[in-house]
Symmetry: C2
């Protein structure tokens, strides 16, 4: 297991199709990566993460409430986060929160707040 | 429709699960973005793409042959490309090609080579 990773947490209660889930996860990953590059320490974490082959895990939550609670916890723990809102041009209502990206960050720190979640 | 986009082309003949597809698409998106940032013109394209909200479309192909032909065509057309190979720690044989990222690039140019493909 790698010491740095990114997790992408998908909200399952809004009926996204497979393509929508994939594009929203891609969006979260790019957003988290660009955010990480702007910080001083997180810049090096992001570089290391790239060199390690970008390890990432896709997890799921069942409700918006669960999503928002996790988002808050991740922010408080100082991890890089990105909560993606859909532009709503296709399947969803504009502004619907879809995927939460956390990291790249220390696996230990990310596991502390996400290890109870199930894989997508 | 935006004038710059990224497409993520998923290979459907290897039985990837939803989480695997999402993580491979995220991988392709980050890889394409970092590649684009290293080029002179593509750097500005990548910046513009970010500012436009990262438009991206997820498409599919049914065979490795179709995947490789598209990869070659995209490379010849000068677009940024990234063919993702799975590390093979979980569902797939190590080295299996999974997702092709194309762009960020001019929508017109990308459509020329991908408009025949179906949405995932």
């Amino acid at each position: 297991m790698s010491i740095i990773k990114m997790v992408l947490v998908v909200r399952m209660d809004i009926g996204m199709g497979q393509g929508k889930i994939a594009s929203q996860c891609a969006h979260a990953a790019v957003e988290c990566f660009t955010k990480a590059r702007r910080g001083f320490l997180s810049y090096f974490t992001a570089r290391a993460w790239l060199m390690m082959g970008q390890p990432k895990i896709v997890l799921k939550v069942q409700t918006e409430k669960e999503f928002l609670r996790l988002y808050e916890t991740a922010q408080k723990s100082g991890l890089v986060t990105a909560a993606i809102r859909d532009a709503g041009r296709t399947q969803l209502k504009p502004g619907t929160i879809t995927v939460l990206g956390i990291g790249p960050g220390a696996t230990e720190k990310i596991d502390e707040i996400t290890s109870h979640l199930r894989l997508l």
